[in-house]
Amino acid sequence: MEAEPLIAFDRVSVTLGGLPVLTDIDLRIDAGDFVCVVGPSGCGKTTMLRLLGGLLEPTAGEVRYAGKRITEPRADIAVMFQDYGRALLPWRTVAGNVSLALEALDVPKGERPARIAAALATVGLSAKAEKYPNQLSGGMQQRLQIARCLAQEPKVLLMDEPFGALDAMTRQTLQDEVLSIVSASGATVFFVTHDLEEAVYLGNRVIGLLPHPGRVASDVAVALPRPRNQLTTREDPEFARLRRQLFDFIKDAEA
Amino acid sequence: MKRVPAVLRGLAFPVALIAIAQIAAMAVRLQSDTLASPAAVLVAGAGAFADGSILVATAQTLANAFGGLALGGIAGLIGGILLGSSIVADRLMEFSVEALRPIPSVALIPVAMLTFGFGFRMEVAIVSFAAFWPVLILTRSAVGGVDAGLLDVARVLRLGPFARTVKIILPAALPRIFVAFRLAAGIALTVAVTVEVSANPLGLGYNMMLAEQSLHPDLMLAYLLWIGIMGWALNLTINGAQRRFFGRSAQARTAP
């Protein structure tokens, strides 16, 4: 009898505005997995993320967390939005933005400063605690979002193309930061991305979705050693093989 | 669930309000010096149209408003171009502009009364003062905000200041200058009506006051409604013109 997975998609279908977005999705995610989801536009990867975030309910089937159906957002599942400029409160300082998560969780006032300081320290924003988001660079704003998610002490991190709008150097730095944060906290990660190399670099599993109808078409294990390294991991022949496999998968899909 | 079309949804509230007022007035058999039923208002309004009085008043108000808009607008345009083109001029004029700007145009009603007596000149003078400032300020920032790249083109082509203004700066700033005039037009109408309500014995504002003083609430409310329609129609026309000439891209939302 296999162990109950942390997250289960059980014959999940989603129809939005009359159009089928996801059809019969079956997926199991175990605790500690770093699952990267790739696929061409319109394949439903963001929809899957929103289902896990409790922002959307399936038209058919069930999405379960620790055996129970997800019907609304959970405190132990943190969501990180793609457009950081719009997901941060411009009128609150960096510390204030992190505090929002704690306020929502009804964390007692006395405990908040310590938890905020810890979250900011983890992402390296301690020196910027009193700055406003519009005084920060894109990379720092995204780190602020990460800090807000970490303040929830989540078991699961949902990340929706978090590094898409950043330049290549910042993206690589943040990839490594996420890896170290996740390995320290043991969180399970559901990471949506367009970038195939990023998916292979970060994940221990890469799920490929195809559109029309949205379905899981590929589920590949990534056996590269951890901790990952931007140079050595990317030079590993297994990395190249996996990248080629995914590349072909996408190319066939768009054909 | 049937979706109610937007037009009906928008009309539902006012129509309901008018219907309730009418029914209430009829139920109470309203005969009053202070209030009138919607039906009576319509009748009074139709009467004012029939004998031309409302049209004459409208012409007077609009003449004053547009006269003042033209005078104040052109002065504001020239001033705005000067201040927008020259940082020196802008900085030197800062105190004078900031000192004169906050004077409420209504405060000048007695001044204009003293100088011109009653009539068109007095009202046009005040409307010009009121319309001058938004055009000045917004033209200044429109001209000052012309893309530096375009100014470089003017320099490279060795255009003189007049040619540069007419061929490069004005066309580039035109969408925002239009918005300035749009704002000023609304202000012009408002100030014209205000002057007529306060002092000047002509136009829609004055006729409305006259109706109130002669205990004709139905006529007064008819004028009020008509003034509202005028303002709304003016707004609509200018917005339409802006869309037509400048397209959606230039449509800036006027600050509330």
Partner: protein, 252 residues
């Protein structure tokens, strides 16, 4: 650098005042209509010394602020309710858009009809006129809250009250303050108009009487005071706005 430009602009202002003085002295325009800055200043000093101006200023300021505060509170409350509710916006929006360009002074006769020529009339007209800019701005502000922030609040499991207080209200604050600024301008104008029409004591009626009795220096002194009032209140509100909206990036 900044200071020398400031001084330069004061100097230019002084030049204009000197020109005014010269025009007045030369009697190109009759001194009945155009008193020089010297006589205007004299009237200002006299008015303050005799206690006339302080009284008038106090009356006008009082009306203006009471009307404005009432209007702002009502405008924010009603505007928030409408702005947060899509059906309310759909049904009331067109009516509000029709009322937006209505000149505030057009309701003065209605005010007279309802309240007579009294202080109440002036106050109600001020409050009614000043209501609309704040209300409309508040509706706009609440309707334009960044939708992604609503998602964030759902993901964090925030209560409806918390969403309004911590997300919608701060997000709308720039629009609300901008509307309140406009409302303040309207309340000054309507205070003056109301005082003129109802002959209630204040700066408005003061300058009207001065004009009617051909006391031009008193008239001009009153106008200067009204300008100063407009300036001070606008600057005050700007300062409050700057403090509350420190987080904003300012573009020229």
């Amino acid at each position: 650098m900044r200071i020398s430009w400031r001084l330069g602009s004061f100097a230019v202002g002084a030049v204009f005042i000197a020109v005014w003085q010269l025009l007045a002295n030369a009697h190109l325009i009759s001194p009945v209509y155009l008193p020089g800055p010297d006589r205007t200043w004299g009237a200002l000093v006299r008015g303050f010394a005799s206690g006339v101006f302080p009284d008038q200023v106090w009356n006008t300021v009082q009306r203006m602020f009471v009307g404005w505060l009432l209007a702002s509170l009502a405008g924010i409350a009603i505007g928030a309710c409408i702005g947060l509710s899509r059906p309310a916006r759909a049904y009331l929006g067109p009516t509000l858009e029709f009322l937006r360009p209505l000149p505030a002074s057009a309701v003065v006769p209605l005010g007279i009809v309802l309240f007579g020529l009294s202080d109440n009339m002036v106050l109600s007209v001020i409050a009614f006129g000043a209501l609309w800019p704040t209300l409309l701005a508040t509706v706009h502000g609440f309707a334009a809250v960044e939708p992604c922030l609503y998602e964030v609040s759902r993901a964090l499991g925030m209560s409806r009250l918390a969403v309004i207080w911590k997300i919608a209200l701060p997000s709308s604050l720039p629009d609300i303050l901008s509307g309140m600024r406009l409302s303040l301008t309207v309340s000054l104008i309507l205070a003056v108009v109301g005082e003129m029409l109802a002959s209630r004591p204040g700066l408005g009626s003061g300058i009207l009487i001065a004009a009617r009795t051909f006391h031009a220096p008193d008239l001009y002194a009153g106008v200067v005071l009204l300008g100063a009032l407009g300036y001070i209140t606008a600057q005050g509100l700007f300062a409050v706005e700057a403090r509350l909206l420190r987080w904003r990036v300012h573009h020229r």
